[in-house]
Each structure stands twice: as C-alpha cells, then as structure tokens.
Amino acid sequence: MEQIIKKALERGQKTLSEYDSKQVIQAVGIPVTREKLAATADEAVKFAEELGYPVVLKGCSDKAAHKTEMGLVKLKLSNADEVRKAYAEITGKGLDLDGVLVQEMIKGDREFVIGLSRDPQFGPCVMFGVGGIFTEVIKDVSFRVAPLTEMDAEEMIDEIRMRKLLDEFRGSPAVDRKLLVKALVGISEIGYRHNEIAEIDINPVIISGNRPVVVDALVVLNNPN
C-alpha cells in the first residue's frame, strides 16, 4: 500500500486509478472484485477466461474518475469476441490508460457505499450508507469519527434508514455483518494512519450472496505537488 501511494505522489497524481485504489483497500482485508490489468486484447481474453464469463472491462487510469460517463465501462461481456470488441472501443478513445481492467461481474440487488473523508474539526471520518447511482439522492448515510471500534461500526450500520436491506431480502441471505464491520474499521485505520489519503469513495459495494464486494473505488490523495 505504501508503495502505491508513494509512487502516485511522486507522479503528481491527485487520485489513484481504480486498480490501485482497490489494492489499497484490499490491503486492510476488504473483499474486492477479482480483476487483472490487461495490456493487449489477447491478454484481456486470457484473463476473462481465467475469471469466467461474464466479465466487465474498464479503462483504467487515475484521470478517469467518471468512467461510465466517458464510455470506459463495458458490462456483461460473455465471450471472447465481445471482450475483443469492448477492448477496441475502450482503447480507441485516445486516452492515456494504464491498461484495461478485466473484472469479474458481480451480481446482486443490494448496493452500499463506504467512504472516508476529513472533517476540519474531527479529522478522518468514515461513512456508510445506501450506494449505487442514487446515493446522493437517497442520502441514507451514517458517519463515525476515526478511529472506529467494532461497536462504532455496528452502530453506524444500524443507523441507516434502510437497514432492513441488510436482513434476508427477496430470497437473498442476510448480509455478512462481520465483513462489513471489518471493512468499516479497515477504512478507519487507513484514514487514521495515512494523512496522505484525503478521501476514499467506495461505491458500489455490491452484496454478492451474503458477501459485500467492492466493485468500484476511488482514493483521493492529499498531493502537495
């Protein structure tokens, strides 16, 4: 984690790419999508076959914070031809990419958001809430000041209005709360220990079966450069 951050700061980056952001998050034990960074179309197909179809392809760059709007996200690719076509479209936009991310496609109806921000009076704060594209409209979130205890994490999970989404839901099992608690405490640790990280935005965290998996993430740096 230290190395990723150090390298990004040296390069004058304001954010980490999705791939690097997830590496940082994964380092504190939070489950993220299985994914690999492909440099060629052949490599993308090879990775897709290793992961198993369907897959997602995403253009990966620290300058691509709004990937969907930029046409850099291709979902539900179910064979090699579709992967090649998506690869060509993403790389054909003339952007300076680190590569193309080949990612397992996570299915689940329940989406959450986890975040880290810094308050001028209270320092690093962790956010939890209902995620997905409607996050900012629904505004069903709770906060805790870092460092978080497990009890703090439990309480903030219970504070959201739609907490019932965490129970058994439309045939899906109840969410593994221990994993969620671990994720929130982990994000708190990052915020408390790494002043060079200004914000983290993890959205969505999709519940796959009973397991929360980070599907997209953005780490924003405090870059003095």
């Binding site: 958001v113 975040g115 921000s117 308050d119 805790r144 000041v145 914000e199 935005d201």
Partner: protein, 468 residues
C-alpha cells in the same frame, strides 16, 4: 454544596481571591461599571474588587487605580472590558503584575477580519510569554453561584434571584444571548445553576477544557450551546471521560462544505452529520430544541435514569393516552403490553377504565392513583412511566409529589405532564417544586433523554470503569 475547588488553573476564573475590572469607570453607559455594581451591590462578592481606569477613580465602591501595576498586593483574576485596540496593552500589564487568569469581554478580534486577527496575535504573544490563560475574547465571562461571583457585563438586579437558586447545572454557552434566555428560563423551572461560562471566541480556554473542569467539580449536569467546535477530538475525549450527563445544542447545520466535491463522501459529509456522529461516539446527548437546555436537566437530576425503553402511560384522559403513544414510538421508545399479572392487579384496584397500556382512569380518589403507580413501577415489563393527568383537584399535586418519591424507591423514572395551560403548569412547578414538563412532546423527549443517558453511562462504565 459548597465551593469545590479542584486544583485546576481554571479555579481562578470561578472563585478568584481578588478581581481587577480593567475598563470600569464612572463614564455614562460604561460596561465595566456594571460588573463592579453587580459584584459589589447585587451579589456582594466576598473578595476585593478593583476598578482600573484612566482617572484611577473608584467605581460603585470598588477602589480605583490607573494601572493593575499600582494595585497593592496580588490580583487573582483580571476582567478586561475596553476597546479592542488597547486590550493587548492591558494583557501585557497583567502579565507584568503576575496575573495568570484573564477574561477578555471586549469584541473586535478574530471575528472581525484581519485587523482583529492582528490584535489576537499580539495577545497570544503576551499570553505565551507570561503563562496566562484567557477566557474569551468576545464573551460575557463567568458566573459561579456557590462562589457568589459573576463578571457578566450589563447584569440587572434580578441576577440576585439566580444566585438564590443554586443547583447542579453548569452551562458552557457560546453566545451571551442564549445565556440570558437560559438564565431567565431556569427561574421558571425547578433546577438551579452551578456555573455558567460564556466562551465567546475561545482563543484559549475552550469547551473541552470546561467539560473536563465540570466533570471534576460539584456539577451534576453539563449543558452546552455551541456554534462551532474548536477541537473535535479533544471535546470527544473530555466527554468520554465523564459519567455526568453532557447535553449539547449546536446551531449551524451547515450544508456541503467545499464546492465541487470530487467524491460522494466529501459531498455528504457536512459538518453536522459528523458532529452528530461524534456526539454518539463520545456519549454526548444532542438536544433538538434550544429550550431543552433548561427543560431536560430536571429529568436527570430529579429522577433515576430509565434502564430500558418500555414506557407505561397513565392518564386520566383517554386522549392523552393516544397522543403520547403516538409520540413515544418515533422517539425510539416502546409501549409494552402489560403482563396478565399486572393487568389483574390493575383490575382489582377498581375505577380503571382501561387496564391495558395506556392505562386510563376516570374520576378517582388519590389512593387509586397511588395504587396504580405502585403496580406500574413494580411491573417487570415497565422501565419508566409517563403520567399525563390534569390537575383537576388539589390532591393531584400530592399524588405527583408521592410519585417522585416512589420513582426513587423503585429506581424507575416518570416524566410528568399535566394537560393544563402552560401558565398553570409553570405555577404548579414553581410552587411545589415538581418536575413538570410543559407539553406531551417534552415529556416524551425527557424519557428518551433519560434512556440515552443510561446507555451512554453504561457504555462509558464498561470502557473506562465507574470511578470517574
């Protein structure tokens, strides 16, 4: 309760062995003079008070000097109330005199742009050099009922009434205006004041220092009005370490701080949501209305804490049974079904219209009330009571007095609301010293606050032990 000194640098602010009021003169409308008048004429402060002014004249019987340096003997506390531009000069003189505690009431510092900021920096230099502690600037100062000390400027004769009503609440108030409302309101209530501090710009002593001080002195309830927090983490630490209730009303629910937030998180983390979270983590009760600053403490001083969320409602008007029931559930409280045993006991009393919760009676003699209190307070399924009984006969006052005693005996609280006009409620409260609430909303809120304090206290005891 007597003056309790806790050997803190803050003692001199509350119970100074001598005071110099810098800027008190006999000029018309002089604010410093009102402080001398209050100390000498109204509350008769039992220690020397000096006035410092250009002419060196005595003010309201306080001997006058042209400089603190001319005052014979030592001075424990200086109160500066002069134009901002000359405050740094007086702070330096206090430093030379060896005064370690200064209240700066003058306005015109960091709250007023660059020029004020420069003056503040000059003060900070002098403070550092001489090891001085500052309250303010831009504040009303300090009031300590047990020490009979008050340096609020502009105090009226009525301040004497406040001093005759000593109690356990200590207030930390970031606004003189709110301080006045609280002082006037507690005169209509049954709880008394211990200390009040108006902290103003809090350039040095801040809310966290005072929470810590009040956690060690004879304060029973700590209540704050805040507009901003100086050091959030320090405030949380201070609140975590006390088992006394800490209540806060904070204004300024600011919207999204910085423009063009890059991520969702930054956009949604308005200061207020974080403040709310910090309160929950540190065991601070966040008040919803400014009036709760004076209305809630009595629930914490006059009644045991509520150890669960199950409330039995008892009323002599069916309407108030359902009105209060509607309010209890959204407040996070429950209206449990009474056990068969409890219902049988209620049925045996006679005169009970409804033996279910809310319990409802018709015109009944005092003994019926007392028997129902007993049954409900003894019920295992009930953690607290909400009494909504109008004062339709004088004996209702007597049964309410009895209920207060029984609550202590059974270690369960009751929030009492009498469905009468507010004027009548206030009169009964003052005359009989009963902890009456002024509306069903307030009574329900009092139960919720009691239960919240119970949970905070239990959590703090688990984490930090019981001996603090």
């Amino acid at each position: 309760m007597n003056v309790k000194l806790i050997n803190s640098y803050l003692d001199s602010f509350f119970n100074p062995s001598s005071v110099a009021v810098i800027g008190a003169s006999n000029a018309p409308f002089n604010l410093g003079a009102t402080i001398c008048k209050c100390l000498n004429d109204y509350i008769q402060y039992p220690h020397p008070v000096y006035a410092v002014n250009r002419k060196g004249e005595a003010v309201h019987g306080c001997p006058g000097y042209t400089s603190v340096l001319d005052i014979p003997g030592s001075v424990d506390l200086a109160v500066i109330i002069t134009p901002a531009a000359v405050v740094p000069h007086f702070v330096k003189e206090c430093g030379e005199k060896g005064i370690k505690s200064i209240v700066i009431e003058s306005a015109g510092f960091s709250e007023q742009g660059e020029e004020g900021g420069k003056l503040q920096a000059e003060i900070n230099d002098a403070v550092k050099k001489h090891g001085i502690r500052i309250m303010g600037p831009n504040c009303l100062g300090v009031m300590d009922i047990y020490a009979r000390f008050c340096c609020f400027y502009g105090a009226y004769q009525e301040i004497v009434d406040v001093f005759n009503k000593a109690g356990g609440i200590s207030y930390i108030i970031q606004s003189g205006g709110v301080g006045v409302v609280v002082l006037e309101s507690i005169m209509d209530d049954i709880v008394g004041l211990n200390k009040m501090v108006s902290i103003g710009n809090k350039s040095d002593v801040d809310e966290a220092d005072l929470i810590e001080y009040f956690s060690h002195d004879n304060t029973t309830v700590i209540a704050l009005y805040l507009e901003n927090v100086r050091d959030g983490v320090k405030m949380m630490e201070a609140a975590r370490k006390t088992l006394k209730p800490v209540l806060v009303f904070k204004s300024g629910r600011t919207e999204e701080g910085t423009a063009a937030a890059l991520s969702h998180t930054a956009g949604m983390a308005n200061n207020d949501a974080v403040f709310e979270a910090a309160c929950r983590q540190a065991g601070i009760i966040r008040l919803k209305h400014i009036s709760e600053l004076h209305s809630m403490p009595k629930m914490l001083t006059e009644m045991p804490l509520m150890a669960g969320n199950r409330v039995a409602v008892f009323t002599n008007s069916g309407a108030f049974g359902s009105i209060t029931a509607d309010l209890l559930v959204p407040a996070g409280l429950a209206i449990p079904r009474l056990n068969d045993g409890t219902r049988e006991r209620l049925a045996r009393i006679g005169g009970v219209f409804n033996i279910n919760n809310p319990v409802d009676i018709g015109p009944a003699p005092p003994q019926t009330y007392l028997e129902i209190f007993k049954v409900l307070l003894e019920a295992d399924e009930v953690d607290g009571l909400l009494l909504a009984s109008s004062i339709w006969r004088d004996f209702i006052i007597d049964v309410m007095k009895e209920l207060v005693k029984m609550c202590k005996q059974y270690n369960k609280p009751a929030a009492i609301y009498t469905p009468n006009s507010v004027t009548r409620i206030l009169a009964a409260r003052r005359q009989h010293g009963l902890p009456l609430f002024e509306s069903p909303e307030e009574a329900v809120r009092a139960l919720a606050v009691s239960y919240e304090q119970f949970r905070f206290r239990r959590k703090k005891e688990e984490l930090y032990g019981t001996d603090h």
